[in-house]
Symmetry: C2
Subunit: 150 residues, 2 copies
Amino acid sequence: MQRTQFGDMSCSIARTLDVIGEPWSPLVLRDVWVGMTRFEQIQSDLGISRKVLTERLHHLVEQGVLERRPYDARPRYEYHLTEKGTELVEMLMVMVKWGDRWLAGPAGPPVLYRHRACGEIAEVDPRCSSCGEPMHADDVDLLPGPGAAG
Amino acid sequence: MQRTQFGDMSCSIARTLDVIGEPWSPLVLRDVWVGMTRFEQIQSDLGISRKVLTERLHHLVEQGVLERRPYDARPRYEYHLTEKGTELVEMLMVMVKWGDRWLAGPAGPPVLYRHRACGEIAEVDPRCSSCGEPMHADDVDLLPGPGAAG
DNA sequence: AGGCGAAGTTCCTTGAAGGAACCCCGAATG
DNA sequence: CATTCGGGGTTCCTTCAAGGAACTTCGCCT
């Protein structure tokens, strides 16, 4: 399968897909997020091919989303979220919310999220960074920005 | 390339990836969101193979994210967001925010989002659905939910 | 009758994912 | 000192999805 590179499109979605759009990448990110930081852990948790996992980890490190860090005198490594990676996890939280709502089935959501600040089980709610009111897909108008394609 | 099906994992991220995780799908969703609703429009905008676009559109319709709607007496169709699809666009908005912040380069973001309610250029901010305070990746604890794997 | 244009479909090529086996390195063990 | 062990990969072959161009279908329009 040859795959088109999205990154040179003038679109932040396309560029973001170039970072985590490949198969498995979001799940790798999730595993690191929840504390599965080692190659063997991630591989056996996801059942991903070792070859593909190697490629994905390299790519995520290259993109500055993960950091590869030795944890032993032996050549052993853990992967950790960078700041860039931590912010990317917000995308996962929105995916979780949507999946919980539309795909969970009668058993309910597989995982619950407790907001540490208030102690409540909650989900993420998108709000306007300017006025704080809800900001959903049809609450916005799109305008060309400074980096728009010439 | 054979590709693993994620949907039967007990994970809302994996399930969501089964809906929009394939290459091009998020960009197709974006196009429909911004008003490019016809096959030819999407195809020429993205430069996607017609075969793959057909597959993606079918899949998104099957999943209830898009709706295929005739717009002429001739066999002509437009694709529109369902409610399920509209809510999925929130994920795109978060991707945009992240891409704008980390990948936009000196030219700045290619597109600006104006919140219709307040009129300001803004981005989406994740907040706790319970207390309304910011809710980022490291503001939550994860607990097993009712639908957790047996 | 002939042409057109939207919306696909067919078919061949290329290359990425799957998967199993293998390798390397340092530590610990006999 | 030789041997095993376990983490973290690498190699290699197979399979199947994406790329891409050509072709088809259907109803309107001249």
